[in-house]
Symmetry: C2
Subunit: 210 residues, 2 copies
Amino acid sequence: MHLHGFFRSSSAYRVRIVMAMKGLSYDQSFYVLRRGDQRQPDYLKLNPQGYVPTLRLDDGSILTQSLAMIDYLEETHPEPAILPKDPLDRARVRAFALAIACDIHPVQNLSVLNAVRKLGHGDAEVNDWARRVNQQGLDACEAMLAGTKGPFCFGDKPTLADICLVPQLFNARRFGCDLSGWTRLLEAEAECMKLPAFTDTAPERQPDAE
Amino acid sequence: MHLHGFFRSSSAYRVRIVMAMKGLSYDQSFYVLRRGDQRQPDYLKLNPQGYVPTLRLDDGSILTQSLAMIDYLEETHPEPAILPKDPLDRARVRAFALAIACDIHPVQNLSVLNAVRKLGHGDAEVNDWARRVNQQGLDACEAMLAGTKGPFCFGDKPTLADICLVPQLFNARRFGCDLSGWTRLLEAEAECMKLPAFTDTAPERQPDAE
């Protein structure tokens, strides 16, 4: 398989974690988002949205959207599972993951920050936008874990929830969030960071890291 | 089951469609988003993100995030299926749905438009933001359907893709998008609108419609 990505893309990081957890091998190509590599015509043929990541399967099939790729990998390589078996437990893990993947990440990605900039706002206001989205979003995620058992987000194994959380926390730190209220989130992150699937795939360990 | 929603919420509309397709009965309560009903303390206990919809199951369990609810309903009430059986086909349907649920809807919802307004922009600029997000996002969705068979987004049955598309097209019209390039999207919508599961659950048919 071949992953079109970027070291700092938190959605590409999610896919790298799942590949590593499931022991799947792949090669990568890298797109410098600030330079607009992902908007070049050849890439748009693969991914009409102009976002990373894109996954090419061994038969040439193309998948877009990190969570769709991850569901595909879970269905075709079920072990180790990243979703619980019980439908209600699955729904809770998915809801947490979607709270990040829908309501935090896309509202603070580069294209949205560029749109804020285009409205006439400078670095401080743009960073404040990104910080606020991460702060409010992850505050809600912390509340979603009230009453759940650790050390991971949902129990004693990493799930899709942790796979979305860890990359988002990289962004939260980059934008200067106040992490002090995030007891359960940081507990889950610390547990993940004992696992090579999370550390080997981290942004700063990628070949295109700046 | 009980659905906490709002007639115009496109994510609540997705859940209403799935409930109707699967023949499930539920009652509803309604939240006026512009009045901030979804930010009241009692509701935040159910849904720490402060968004609609929230689904209460018959045993009292609470689910948030429309796509997590829909996966739960698909897993517990599999007929009629809203996802294909083949993992690759499923991934394509999911990618289309996520292109809407992650990259369009949350970037034009009320809280983001309020954030643009707070930066000092008036009605015209706020509407332009929402229009642009829908236009660019749905242009990409049209491109994602190139080469697929109709009349629905992915073949001869409605899937999760159509269930996300139809509510989003309501928003696109409301914000004044140019629909002329959306041949396949409008074909799929027209086919959906022959089905009571899509028409009976439409925003203007809800008890709280203004």
